[in-house]
């Protein structure tokens, strides 16, 4: 199945918008996580973890899913394919585990927000979990930068499947 030029541009627009939106939301999440860990103001700490929970559920998770869906649609609906080029596979190999790790860490984020909302998050409390959220957000930003670089530079390299498909197509012409 190949998209029409109009549909292809629409899918590309959706993919770029959702992936860059995901990047921006994770950057905001990281800023909140750092602020929540470092601030001495209890109100600021409480607000940070409540905002992180809201941002994660209402912005990061939907954009993550939208990025995955539009990315796979882009691959299937264009000549790039899903298994033909190494750079496409590299993006999938990075994005799918990143999404899985994000979904796995939603419970700790909600837990911290609940503790913060109850006003029981003492200074230095849940330190390890709070540091872990910073590390996760930093790792997510790194992964998103790498996938953006892969999308823009599209480093050469056809997979064996891609090479066979290319030969088959040129023989049919």
């Amino acid at each position: 199945m190949t998209f029409s030029p109009w549909l292809r541009k629409a899918a590309l627009t959706a993919h770029v918008t959702s992936s860059l939106g995901w990047f921006g939301a994770v950057a905001a999440f990281l800023a909140l996580a750092v602020s929540g860990l470092q601030s001495a103001d209890p109100l600021k700490v409480r607000s940070a973890y409540l905002a992180m929970d809201l941002t994660a559920w209402t912005v990061i998770v939907p954009l993550c899913i939208a990025t995955l869906v539009t990315g796979i649609a882009q691959s299937l609906g264009t000549p790039w394919g899903i298994m033909r080029h190494y750079w496409v596979i590299a993006k999938i190999v990075l994005t799918v585990p990143a999404s899985a790790i994000l979904l796995l860490h939603m419970r700790p984020i909600s837990y911290l927000a609940e503790v913060a909302a109850a006003g029981t998050l003492a200074t230095g409390g849940e330190h390890r979990l709070r540091v872990q959220l910073i590390a996760n957000a930093g790792a997510a930003l790194f992964v998103l930068v790498v996938t953006t670089v892969l999308s823009i530079y599209k480093p050469r390299g056809l997979t064996p499947y891609g090479q066979r498909a290319m030969r088959r197509e040129s023989a049919e012409r």
Binding site: V93, Q132, G157, R167
Partner: protein, 55 residues
Amino acid sequence: MIEPESSNTHARNNAPPTTEPAPRWVKIFGAVLVMLLLAFIVMHLVGGGFRGHGA
């Protein structure tokens, strides 16, 4: 008169097309990914982080 194909030519035409190996960046990318995966597993096992996700 058409010359018969030499055995070499025949062998060349019937040879399966060669598959190009993966570029160097793919190998480096794969190695880095495996190392990161191992580091992630070791960090979680050492820190007991896998059971901490339920909070």
